[in-house]
Symmetry: C2
Subunit: 381 residues, 2 copies
């Protein structure tokens, strides 16, 4: 049995991961479950999967879970889980910077990581990939886009990948005239055309900041400079992404939007196990796939993210923190949709850049950028 | 240096192969050239590439090539070329059954074969693949469709391939109403919407017999039963074909129509060498890709071919021979476009089927089916 630790087990990726692991038993087993605030759901998951190690961030969680702890498992922090001898693979499904330390702990201990958390590589891609190289552990993508790229380069020689073409649905406002974007409401921003996800990431899809972060992730996962990462608008979200090889051959991975496939790939690689429950793609029924250029004027966050990625160092970390805070203020109605980009831009510009930051420096910039962005918004309001 | 024998060097695939090999020198060298009737072009190719071994089918060719033979090479039959110690890879670019014996000779001698000839696998797929298994030599596809499938399964486990989805442009008559197809002329049939090829194959594209033969080829190349080979209409010829893996993941290979890419892949595998001259695919510029079901009433040859493939044995060989003769009669104006399918069907039905034919039996059926089809057409006219 391969032992899996699921960090963020009560979130969207976590619950889907557990549903995948249900189908993969007994070859794959849940060794550790870590959650944030949803202790009630965690207790149910513990009762079902009986993990050896349990954690929840919520205050008083340890007391609430006493029953489960006494019968099946022990309390352990995500960092401890990540390095535990019974764990072979760590699924990082926590959002935000909470995934960073466990990812580094897992890689340091030589455990493969399945990464569903964008911020880890955006904030500290250089650090994380250096740790993976040192220990020989792998960072496997769980995002649909990066899983697509990954599947397309299986069996290809290192160095043969010339260009990455990330597809973008275009988010909730892909068809809104630019002049209307100042007035859109949080409720409108939360209507994603093809994927059903959390609030923050859905707004990031509408600004294309999410796609910008994905370009940075792709840069680190596949060791390709950002100059060779393109974004193409693809409304149908059927082609999950593409690669261009150095002989000009283009490969794409396609499917109906369903996160269970990238989750399974990340767990069972290099095997592909039968997955009959997955609805099959029928292109003749879909009929038409469209592709278009992205309008950077309408989506300034994409250019911003790619510029931060090219600048490197702490720029992407400052950007990610500022974006999270700015999106929060947008969702609370304190700033407009088109204020997100200039607020983030100002935070990046004002931050004290460090060229090759360690984890501490990254977290310091993160904390600074959050405070700074709060103040910036307070001044604007 | 890897030694390459190019059979059919003066044809469409042959000349494109030589242009590819020009760019791959000195790592790949032309060791042998074999042509059919175009001795003048062969003489030029011999002067440029100075192969060790030379052949042309044309009467008197050996005398015409005396000068070249005395200075650079020796006369050798395609079968001798295929098994020559200096040859590492045999490109079978001859059309029709002429490719069959050299393919078998190459595989028997343990040489990899790059196969651009459809008839070889349609007529004798079982024999050819058995020979490859025995010697451990590979059969690499040169067709754009099969190269696409091949590229998509690099790095995938054997057995993980669940379904092959061949794309079809639909040929010259994809938009003609069914009732007009009886009246179409050979000149109209020769207007292929996306690829520029020889006359016989272009008519086979218009009837979809070509696609039917490709389903049989795919069946042998990738060891997938015909029940798991689908055809989807894709007008733009950008997606060259697709695979569905057993977890439901779909992979596709895309590019502008250019045979040099599959030729290069077949020569340099498992390497992908830089190919800057290949025009790059820009999907945003193309905008739309369409997919549709194939209308089997309009294209009876597709159903005919798949049925012959499922029946196995000598059925596909009888079909291929009857089709070649029937298409010749259509091009000569002796039968109509919609007569091709019933003529071929009648020949298949009338042939004396052999379940596991050897080469001799295959060639006997081929000869019989040609005579029979000629007689059939003579009776009809």
């Amino acid at each position: 049995m391969k032992g899996v630790a699921v960090l963020g087990s009560t979130g969207s990726i976590g619950t889907q991961t557990l549903s995948v692991l249900r189908g993969l038993a007994p070859e794959y087993g849940v060794v550790a479950l870590a959650a944030g605030q949803n202790v009630a759901l965690l207790a149910q998951q513990v009762a079902e999967f009986k993990p050896k190690l349990i954690y929840a961030e919520a205050a008083g969680a340890r007391q609430q879970l006493t029953g489960a702890l006494s019968s099946t498992g022990a309390w352990a922090t995500p960092d401890e889980m990540a390095a535990h001898p019974d764990v072979d693979l760590v699924i990082v499904g926590t959002s935000g910077k909470a995934g960073l330390a466990p990812t580094l702990a897992a890689l340091r201990a030589g455990k493969d990581v399945a990464l569903a958390n964008k911020e880890v590589l955006v904030m500290a891609g250089e650090l994380v990939m250096a740790e993976a190289r040192r220990s020989g552990a792998a960072v496997r993508p769980v995002d649909s886009e990066h899983s697509a790229i990954w599947q397309c380069v299986w069996g290809e020689e290192p160095g043969a990948l010339q260009r990455i073409i990330l597809t973008a649905s275009g988010g909730a406002f892909r068809d809104r005239p630019l002049e209307e974007l100042r007035q859109v409401t949080p409720a409108e921003a939360l209507r994603h055309p093809t994927w059903n996800m959390g609030a923050k990431i859905t707004v990031d899809c509408a600004t294309l900041m999410n796609k910008g972060m994905e370009t940075i992730e792709a840069r680190w996962l596949f060791d390709v400079p950002l100059e060779r990462v393109d974004v193409v608008l693809h409304r149908e979200s059927i082609v999950h992404s593409m690669v261009e090889m150095r002989d000009g051959s283009v490969k794409a991975q396609l499917g109906l939007p369903d996160m269970r496939l990238p989750i399974r790939c990340a767990i069972t690689y290099p095997e592909r196990l039968p997955f009959d429950e997955l609805p099959r793609l029928d292109l003749a029924a879909i009929g038409t796939l469209t592709f278009d250029r992205v309008d950077l004027e309408r989506f300034p966050c994409l250019g911003l993210a790619m510029a931060a990625g090219r600048a490197g160092g702490t720029h992407p970390a400052a950007m990610a923190a500022a974006d999270e805070v700015a999106v929060g203020h947008f969702l609370a109605g304190r700033i407009g949709f088109m204020d997100i980009a200039p607020v983030v831009e100002q935070a990046i510009a004002a931050h004290r850049a460090v060229a090759a930051p360690d984890l501490e420096a990254v977290l310091a910039i993160d904390a600074w950028a959050r405070r700074y962005t709060d103040e910036l918004v307070a001044q604007r309001v």
